[in-house]
Subunit: 160 residues, 2 copies
C-alpha cells in the first residue's frame, strides 16, 4: 500500500456548507447548484449520501471561505422551494487528500489513512474519493498533526 501513495495534498481556505433534510427527488441538486452558479460561486467538494428510505438526505459542499456568506445567503432564498430543514456552515475545516495512481486496487490505502487519523484522535467529518485520491475534511486545528502523521504512515518523510 505504501508505494501506491505518492503525495499528500491539502487546502486550508475552504469552508463547508451542509443542507440538512433535503427532499430526495429529481431537481433538488440542480436547483442548489443553479443558484450558486448564478452567483458565480466556485464549488470544490460536493458530497451527498444515499437517503435511508428515499425521502430526505443531506448535501454538503465546500467553497472558498471568502464566498461562505454569499453561498448561505443564496441558499436561504431557496429554503421554501427546497424545503430543507437547516443550513450549517463552518470555516474551521481543512481538506487533506492522499494521492496515488492505482489506489483503487489497494483496499489498504483507505485503512491506513483512517487508522492514522484515528490514532491522532482526529475525527473525520467528511470523506470523498476519486480514482486516484481519497479526501477528508477535518478540523483545521489538526492540519499539521495530520500531515506529519500521514507522511510517516505512507513512508513519504523526506530524509534528513
Amino acid at each position: 500500500e505504501k508505494q501506491v501513495v505518492t503525495s499528500i495534498a491539502y487546502s486550508t481556505n475552504e469552508a463547508k456548507v451542509t443542507l440538512i433534510g433535503l427532499t430526495d427527488c429529481p431537481g433538488v441538486a440542480a436547483a442548489i447548484f443553479e443558484s450558486l452558479a448564478k452567483a458565480a460561486i466556485n464549488v470544490d467538494m460536493i458530497v451527498q449520501n444515499v437517503s435511508q428510505n428515499g425521502d430526505f438526505t443531506d448535501l454538503t459542499f465546500t467553497v472558498n471561505s471568502s464566498n461562505l456568506n454569499l453561498a448561505c445567503k443564496m441558499l436561504n432564498v431557496l429554503k421554501k422551494d427546497l424545503g430543507y430543514v437547516d443550513i450549517i456552515s463552518n470555516a474551521m475545516v481543512c481538506k487533506i487528500s492522499v494521492v496515488g495512481v492505482g489506489m483503487r486496487s489497494q483496499p489498504g490505502v483507505a485503512k491506513i489513512m483512517f487508522h492514522t487519523l484515528a490514532k491522532c484522535g482526529i475525527n473525520i467529518q467528511l470523506i470523498t474519493t476519486s480514482e486516484i485520491r481519497i479526501s477528508v475534511l477535518i478540523s483545521s486545528k489538526y492540519l499539521d498533526l495530520a500531515l506529519q502523521a500521514l507522511h510517516t504512515a505512507y513512508g513519504l518523510d523526506t530524509d534528513g
Copy 2:
C-alpha cells in the same frame, strides 16, 4: 462550461453499501476499512457526510457487485463494535462521471449535470467530486438515458 467537460465515464458493475447511524468518533472509519482490507475487498467510492450535531452519520461505499455479499458479511460481524443501526445495499446502481480539467473554476458544470438528470426524471442517489470529476450514483435502469442526455448537454455528441 461546455468546453471544460471532455468526457463522460461510467461503470455498471458496482454495488453500494450504506452503514446507517454510525457513531461519529475517531476510529470508526478505520475499523470499517480495516475489516474490508482484511477480506481484500477493493472499494471504489467512499462517501461520508458531516453529521448534524456530531453524533451519528451514514457512510456509503461501493464495491464490485461480486464482492457485495462478502462485504456485508464482514460488516455484520462489526455491528456490535461499531454500533451502527442498519446496513442497506443495492446492486442496481451505476456510476456516471463527468470529466474535465479546470472544472473547479466552473460552477456551471455541476448545475448542467444535475439539471440534465433532473429533466430526465432521474434521481441522484449519491454525489462525490474530485478536482477533475463529478460522479453520481443513479439507478442502473437509467444508464443509457443519462449517458445520452449528458453527452448532448455538454456538446459531446459525435457527429452523425
